[in-house]
């Protein structure tokens, strides 16, 4: 692939943000049409969380394959035609568009094995870089959502994604004996990865009882086979899978030594008398995923709340957001998994190509031309990701979105979980705000999460509410006696700066800062 030296200013036709399945598919498809594409990603290697791999092991992964690895290999080869800016952490995007990123010093050092280079998105210090583009495809992905419970701040309790990143990305078992808990099918590959990495998995505790989901699964043979594969792996490793149960407390002094598991009713309220202690040194927990909405919200993209209560970016049939020239693909348009992300990424690229020379303003009012997109698809056929036509892609997107909706309904967060909180349970980990202080803020008159945040400091720390945002919104709604609303969720995800950055790094910004007044 063409690795760009982290030049002070990069100009491209299209900037794609995020090199997971959606961003890779978008970048490779647009580049196949001969467009000048900059792919901007914070990680040292392409693939995002889904195709996460070790620097030293991609040859081994290439041989072993699995989980769509062949698709990733094809995408990685397609990067040859893309200006791939690895180790570039995007912290702000100006209308027009100017993408501001922090480039890690490894971005141009050329270290590491296998032709991969260590580039940490400026974590060791970096330089400010501007990338100018006429169109933007946003594919920043999602991160784990974890609901608080007593003791969740103990070392040894980590997100399901963190456990998987350690096992898959680093070849490290996070502990000797792990409990996997939360909700969603993602818990299965996490448990399997932990077992492979050498941890004993004491059990998977799934809070929902997703019996109705089998029917949806039966209509998707590939997913059914995947589920069957995990079931077999779990059986081989003798990992029990128990539904309608949750970790309602973690115990320990300086690290977790045991958890309390309880049965839940259908609304996720613990059933008294069903508690039992399970010894473990590690807890991998996840309650679904939260889309990374900072960049689309900075740009003013309209959002919507899904049936499952997730705040996502609104896109039309052509993956266009409400902001002209800004397209979105993958988890930020609704949690749907890697297969859907690949299709959306490819469609977003075809949509940009179909827009052709039309200015962003013209495109916003015109209906998307299916004929133009089909022509774009024909132009890149054989070189694009699927090599299929637009009709095939649209049908596949419809099918995968229906599957995602069934999945979302079966594994949604139910409203009864605050029943397992205690007054002193930490809700905001950064500012160490206990549950009782949120309740006190509502007692003082706060009726919305932003006011609760100002009064309690929940969500005001380093992570800017990424970790506790959903819980703070849900607990505020609950304490004020109403259902969780879209405005609750929106209020806590608006961040003027998408990534915390050091002022010192900005001081080394390029000298070309003067701009025309708007």
């Amino acid at each position: 692939m063409r690795d760009e030296p982290a030049a002070a200013d990069v100009a491209a036709d299209i900037a794609v943000i995020g090199a997971g399945p959606a961003g890779l598919a978008a970048a490779v498809t647009a580049a196949a049409a001969g467009r000048d594409v900059a792919l901007v990603d914070a990680a040292p290697r392409p693939g995002g969380q889904f195709y996460r791999h070790r620097a030293v092991s991609s040859e081994e992964e290439d041989r072993r394959g699995g989980r769509g690895w062949e698709t990733f290999v094809r995408l990685r080869e397609g990067l040859a035609a893309v200006r791939y800016l690895r180790g570039h952490r995007v912290w702000h995007i100006e209308p027009g568009f100017v993408v501001h990123a922090l480039a890690g010093d490894g971005a141009e050092r050329g270290e590491g094995g296998n032709g991969d280079e260590a580039a940490e998105g400026g974590e060791r210090g970096g330089r400010a870089v501007e990338i100018r583009a006429r169109a933007l495809i946003l594919a920043p992905g999602a991160h784990d959502r974890v609901l608080p419970f007593p003791g969740w701040d103990l070392p040894g309790v980590l997100t399901a994604g963190a456990a998987q990143a350690l096992a898959k990305g680093n070849g490290v078992a996070p502990g000797a004996r792990t409990v996997v808990a939360g909700t969603g099918p993602f818990l299965l590959p996490v448990a399997a990865a932990l077992a492979t990495a050498g941890s004993t998995v004491a059990g998977i505790f799934e809070a929902n009882r997703p019996f109705g989901f089998g029917a949806a699964l039966a209509r998707h043979p590939a997913r059914l086979a995947e589920a069957a594969g995990y079931a077999a792996a779990l059986a081989r490793a003798r990992i029990p899978y128990l539904m309608g149960r949750a970790v309602v407390a973690a115990h320990g002094d300086d690290a977790v030594t045991a958890v309390t598991v309880a049965r839940l009713d259908a609304g996720w309220r613990p059933v008294a008398g069903t508690e039992r202690l399970v010894e473990c040194d590690t807890v991998a927990v996840g309650h679904g995923f939260a889309p990374q909405l900072e960049l689309p919200l900075q740009l003013g993209c309209a959002t919507r709340v899904t049936a499952e209560g997730d705040l996502v970016v609104e896109v039309d049939a052509a993956q266009r957001t409400s902001v002209p020239g800004v397209y979105a693909a993958g988890e930020i348009t609704g949690i749907g998994g890697a297969q859907l992300a690949l299709v959306e990424g490819e469609l977003a690229a075809l949509s940009v190509l179909a827009a052709g020379g039309a200015s962003a303003g013209e495109m916003s009012s015109a209906a998307m031309s299916a004929a133009a997109m089909s022509a774009a698809a024909r132009a890149v056929s054989g070189k694009a990701v699927s090599g299929k036509g637009v009709a095939w892609l649209l049908a596949r997107r419809r099918r995968l979105r229906a599957f995602a909706a069934a999945l979302g309904a079966a594994y949604a967060v139910r409203p009864g979980w605050p029943a397992w909180l205690r007054d002193d349970t930490v809700v905001c980990r950064c500012e160490e705000v206990p549950y009782e202080r949120l309740v006190a803020a509502v007692a003082l008159g706060a009726t919305d999460p932003r006011t609760v945040k100002l009064l309690s400091r929940a969500g005001m720390g380093w992570c800017q509410g990424r970790v506790c945002g959903h819980a703070t919104a849900a607990l505020t709604a609950r304490a004020t006696g109403r259902a969780l609303a879209a405005s609750d969720l929106r209020g806590l995800v608006q961040r003027p700066i998408a990534q915390p950055i050091r002022l010192g790094d900005l001081a080394h910004a390029p000298e070309t800062r003067e701009k025309e007044p708007p």
Partner: protein
């Protein structure tokens, strides 16, 4: 499988090439490397992908780096801290 070493509060820690500082510490059995400002509680790795800032650590005298993102380099001097 160790390719090189770093140190944590003076103690040698083996690293496999490509591992993050956080992963190397976890592999060495170290679960926490920071104490919180308010309640003086121990913290280590939580989100593992750069979102939560729980795993902040000092690397070669540079404080406040996310251990889950920093790939270890030979000879890195890691120190625990308070933040």
């Amino acid at each position: 499988m160790s390719d090189f070493e770093i140190t944590f509060d003076g103690r040698p820690i083996p690293v496999a090439a490509g591992q993050t500082v956080g992963a190397a510490l976890i592999a060495a059995g170290i679960r926490s490397w920071r104490r919180t400002r308010v309640a003086d509680r121990p913290r280590g790795l939580f989100c593992g992908i750069g979102v939560c800032f729980d795993c902040l650590v000092t690397v070669n005298d540079r404080p406040g780096l996310r251990a889950c993102l920093v790939e270890a380099r030979p000879g890195d001097v890691i120190r625990s801290g308070r933040a």
